[in-house]
Symmetry: C2
Subunit: 124 residues, 2 copies
DNA sequence: TCAAATGTACGAATGTTTTCGTAAATGCAA
DNA sequence: TTGCATTTACGAAAACATTCGTACATTTGA
């Protein structure tokens, strides 16, 4: 699967991932909180996403219901891999340390990560 | 600073970060290894980057010398923050764990990260 | 010296993404 | 019923990014 969502498409996917199934209006209203673009803009984008296979829809009723066709995990991983390749010289650990250095994480978060690391090491 | 480099601009920045100072030809030759686009394309892009303030140049001599004006760390952090905000619900640790789960890192890398984490915890 | 090579400048073509206007169909409520 | 609101479809404009052709200046070396 080599479809990279555009920035606007990602915004729409956020909403779909969160709400599982949406009408165009649902998505539009959600987006309208942070951004202003017309209703038909959102509609058009979602139609394009349908063509690209990023979403599917139930067109049984007049008001269509859209659902995401790509998973959030998959998309996250794709984006991370691309970023590691292009901006972090292929080093995942460099990326991790950069995240940890600037985002002031809580002790709980750090501990969670540490536990996770230990689990990883034991499993190999 | 709210200038987000485009994809092509990032490719050029990679080269500049690596080599510190470059002519257009330097950059072009480097890029030409993986991609094919004409010399004037690279030139034009670098001129645009100059206008945007992404790079500076010494135009004393006929062959101009370009240098990056934004640091690699800053750019990395910007990209990560944006990604955390938009795709990881604002949770840096979620991002970290996703990276660790899929990129099979070596034990050395994992240890490096663990040490780094401990240093972080001791400093707070 | 002077032609070829190398360099910059820059407008314009091309490609992609985003935005919107308008038309047509359907549902809804007075 | 009838007219107003909501919805889809779709073409085309606008905005943004990339690519390239061409003109012109400078350097180089035969």
């Amino acid at each position: 699967m080599e479809i990279k969502p555009t920035e606007s498409e990602l915004e729409i996917l956020q909403v779909l991932w969160e709400k599982k199934a949406c009408t165009v209006r649902d998505v539009h209203e959600e987006l309208a909180q942070n951004k202003d673009a017309g209703y038909t803009t959102t509609l058009k984008l979602m139609q394009i996403m349908l063509e690209k296979g990023l979403v599917e829809r139930d067109a049984t009723n007049r008001t269509h219901i859209y659902k995401p066709l790509i998973s959030i995990e998959h998309t996250r991983q794709n984006m991370l891999n691309k970023m590691i390749d292009t901006v972090f010289n292929g080093s995942a650990s460099q990326l991790v340390m950069q995240v940890l250095s600037n985002k002031t994480s809580s002790k709980e978060e750090l501990d969670m990560i540490k536990n996770y690391l230990e689990k990883l090491e034991n499993n190999t």
